[in-house]
């Protein structure tokens, strides 16, 4: 076999493999996509119609844990008991009720915290000790954080980031 013929054969073999690859992949895809039987619960928005959150929404999405952590040490160590960033007030406002009008617990994927944290696969242990449902009345009556209302969102008041997030969720802006 000459040198040239050998090269041509190898090239042909390679070419045919390349052409066949997508076909083989498509056949596999039809069989079973890994984890396709898993139910993916998307995070939901559960916000008060009358109250604004303590910070703009995009800020809370990114940094809510920092506010809670800061408040935690202030309250625990120094006895500072302002309610604005208290975990209890988060729960009071964002609690979700089921069809029977009962508050859902943290094990339920509809729970405000659980809905996002299940989706993001971030395990939180706040509720091993803290109450996951409202127990006493909120002491926050009106908050003016300068953020947009969660219920009816006024035009031009949201940041670009939030608009992108909303668009990605397919929610009206």
């Amino acid at each position: 076999m000459s040198h040239k013929r050998l090269l041509r054969r190898v090239a042909g073999l390679l070419l045919s493999t390349l052409l066949l690859l997508p076909v083989a992949a498509a056949a596999e895809e039809e069989e079973q996509i890994p984890f396709s039987d898993l139910e993916l619960v998307l995070p939901e928005r559960h916000f008060s119609d009358t109250l604004e959150c303590v910070q703009p929404e995009d800020e809370m999405r990114r940094n809510h844990m920092k506010y809670i952590l800061h408040q935690r040490d202030e309250t625990m160590r120094k006895g500072i008991r302002t309610r604005r960033y208290a975990l209890e007030e988060c729960i009071n406002c964002h609690a979700v009720k089921d069809d029977n009008g009962e508050y859902v617990r943290i094990e339920d994927k509809r729970h405000f915290c659980a809905s996002c944290h299940t989706y993001a696969a971030v395990n939180i242990d706040c509720f091993q000790c803290h109450s996951d449902v409202p127990v006493r009345e909120s002491t926050l009556h009106s908050l003016k954080s300068g953020a947009a209302r969660h219920g009816g969102i006024a035009e031009g008041t949201l940041t670009r980031d939030t608009l992108q997030l909303l668009a990605a969720e397919g929610k009206p802006q």
Binding site: M76, R77, G79, I80, R81, T82, E88, Q128, C129, S131
Partner: protein, 254 residues
């Protein structure tokens, strides 16, 4: 600044001075009526100007009465107020406050008293804590920061008063003002959530409600407080005073 605002400021200053003048009214020579110190604003940290304590008058503490213990359970959600810890033995279950009965063998005289965290000035629990979870607040209240407690239970060994408990099981339905959970140590908090809002611990309130009045709660640093007056006039001892812990909880009649 507009004229109106300026007028408001004058008014405010005048009212402020007027209230200071009215705050201490002289009724008779040597007798003053003074307004109590203003409540701590929620955004201010506690400071060492105060030292909270409880005085137990064992002569008034009724044998068989369990009001303080029950009130603590209800307030903080442990014991009979919680349906958790069902797999734990009685000796393992949380016990923030317990009634102790003492009997003098010679005379047969029986004394009962509530025993809880003594809120030491130099708490051994905080000394031995490897993470800093056991600590004493500036105002003398000894607490467990369960966020950083690793459940090693050194503090339970170190405490001379057997005041601390370890939670062995998952809990549910805790009170928002008294978070508690598996794998952490807990004890009497002197109802810190009430104290921070100018309240009185649940046990003291219950004892007064039961008409016994055996418990006095107040600021040990304030010489005009009822607890300081009682201690000054009638005295009160520490349990295990030999340890030199300078406890915030004192007993009379033992």
């Amino acid at each position: 600044m507009s004229d109106n605002q300026q007028i408001d400021e004058y008014r405010r200053k005048f009212l402020g001075q007027a209230s200071v003048a009215a705050g201490t009214a002289v009724i008779a020579p040597g007798v003053f009526l003074s307004t109590p110190a203003a409540a701590k604003p929620a955004d201010q940290p506690v400071d060492s100007g105060k030292r909270w304590g409880i005085l137990v008058d064992t002569a008034k503490c009724a044998s068989g009465c369990n009001a303080c213990v029950t009130a603590c359970e209800q307030e903080n959600g442990w014991g009979s107020a919680s349906n958790a810890e069902e797999h734990s033995a009685d000796s393992q279950k949380a016990q923030w406050i317990r009634k102790v009965q003492l009997k003098d063998k010679l005379s047969g005289h029986v004394t009962t008293l509530p025993l809880m965290c003594q809120h030491c000035e130099t708490p051994p629990c905080a000394d031995v804590c490897p993470t800093g979870a056991s600590f004493k607040r500036a105002d003398g209240i000894v607490l467990v920061d369960k966020h950083i407690c690793i459940g090693c239970r050194y503090c339970m060994m170190a405490c001379p008063y057997k005041a601390r408990s370890f939670i062995h099981e998952d809990l549910k339905d805790q009170k928002p003002w008294a978070p508690r959970g598996k794998g952490t140590v807990e004890a009497c908090t002197l109802c810190v959530h009430r104290v921070d809002n100018d309240g009185t611990p649940a046990c003291v309130e219950a004892c007064n409600a039961a008409q016994h009045g055996a418990l006095y709660f107040g600021d040990l640093n304030d010489e005009n407080s009822e607890i300081s007056r009682q201690l000054r006039e009638y005295g009160g001892t520490e349990i295990r005073a030999d340890l030199g812990l300078n406890t915030g909880v004192r007993y009379r009649g033992i």
